[in-house]
């Protein structure tokens, strides 16, 4: 049978129309059906971003009680043990300007009230670098960068070589010299502990972002810490950083930290 050009076009047109109708007509129905059935422990979809980042209003984070409260708000639910001395485990902590920004000393001394800065305390945590040194030296791939910019630890793969601790220029990583369970008073039932011989650090609360919540420190800071998408020019944090003068820790090393200090 020879198909005329006109007839072929007719059949093609009807088929295309039918296909469109089928897709638009059926898709919403199946979509709704899939949304309605949920397992007993299912939670809503979490927060996503191109590149997560953090900005801190340094002047509002000077009260030692507030700093302690923020550190506890992170360490307690993450089952971070309280070990005194040089074998401590820390995800978020505070230190002086000279210790936090050693390579910015000369620059800021010219432009800002240097005496004022030297008297300030700075909340420090993993910078979730754009170009992290820790992930490059890790021989097992236990630490890696997620697509949303968060540098995470997979303790299942960590063998405790501590190369990442040498690689990290911010001292953001801690090694479990002891079994952390021996130093935990109240264990958070909803988050795992670690074991002896693995490295741990701040994870930008990936488990909370997955539940659609902001990190613990952001919640505890009463607005002094802002968390958001640095990859989005219109996000609150991007606007804040355009409007305010901020510092980065050791920018000359080229790691591209994503935690900003608004001074």
């Amino acid at each position: 049978m020879k198909l005329s050009r006109r007839k072929f076009m007719k059949i093609a047109g009807v088929s295309a129309a039918g296909l469109t109708a089928a897709v638009t007509g059926v898709a919403p129905l199946t979509g709704i059906a899939a949304e309605e059935v949920k397992g007993p422990a299912y939670q809503a979809k979490g927060l996503t971003a191109k590149r997560w980042g953090m900005a801190m209003f340094v002047n509002r984070l000077q009260d030692p009680a507030l700093i302690k409260q923020i550190a506890e708000s992170c360490h307690k639910p993450h089952n971070v043990p309280n070990i005194p001395g040089d074998q401590e485990i820390k995800w978020i902590w505070a230190d002086s300007y000279a210790k936090s920004f050693p390579d910015s000393l000369a620059e800021t001394a010219k432009d800002h009230n240097f005496e004022d800065l030297m008297s300030k305390r700075f909340l420090l945590l993993c910078n979730h670098c754009e170009n992290p040194a820790c992930t490059k030296v890790c021989p097992t791939g236990a630490t890696f960068k997620r697509e949303d910019g968060i540098v995470v630890m997979d303790p299942h793969r960590c063998m405790g070589c501590r190369y990442c601790m040498v690689g990290c220029p911010y001292g953001a990583r801690s090694f479990n010299f002891h079994n952390p369970s021996d130093f935990l008073e109240d264990v958070n039932q909803r988050y795992p502990r670690r074991m002896r011989g693995v490295v741990e650090k701040c994870n930008f609360c990936t488990e909370r972002l997955a539940e659609g919540k902001l990190p613990y420190c952001v919640e505890a800071s009463d607005g002094a810490i802002v968390f958001g998408d640095l990859g989005d020019r219109d996000s609150e944090i991007s606007k804040l950083l355009r409007e305010n003068y901020s510092l980065l820790r050791k920018p000359s090393l080229g790691t591209g930290p994503n935690v900003y200090y608004i001074i």
Partner: protein, 150 residues
């Protein structure tokens, strides 16, 4: 003189060779009996007690929930592979949503999804693991439900 010595030596060896054969066969027999002892001992015990010595352990199933993420047979045989896949999905890929064969959605989370139903670790996880001599190290880090510690 030397010839006699050699002859004596050969004579000495001959009967010994015959005796050794008995020792070797006896030893081999004893080895086979000992090596297979678990099988026939089990058989003997079962004759005396009247039932199988190994019993499939009875595990405590959750009472409130009837549905799991997969069938009973699959979970019994393959739960470790499923947990391994879940671990990689959650930790490495950041995917925390699992859709089972019936279209139900689950949060990929050992402590908060699996253990929210299977809250009885000693009677659910440990009974089987102990009787099969496996010692998974999940609980070195993951926290078992509080219900067990009372």
């Amino acid at each position: 003189m030397l010839k006699d010595l050699i002859k004596d030596f050969i004579d000495e060896m001959k009967p010994k060779l015959i005796n050794d054969r008995m020792f070797i066969m006896g030893g081999l027999g004893a080895f086979v009996v000992l090596f297979t002892s678990p099988f026939w001992l089990n058989f003997l015990f079962s004759l005396f007690t009247g039932d199988d010595v190994y019993e499939r352990p009875k595990i405590a199933l959750p009472t409130e929930y009837k549905e799991c993420v997969s069938t009973r047979d699959y979970m019994r045989a393959e739960h470790m592979q499923l947990l391994d896949t879940w671990r990689d999905m959650a930790v490495r890929e950041g995917k925390r949503e699992y859709v089972d064969a019936n279209g139900n959605k689950w949060d990929i989370n050992l402590q908060n999804t699996c253990m929210s139903c299977h809250a009885n670790k000693p009677d659910f996880c440990d009974t089987c693991h102990t009787s099969n001599s496996v010692d998974p190290y999940c609980w070195d880090c993951h926290v078992e439900p509080k219900g067990n510690q009372q």
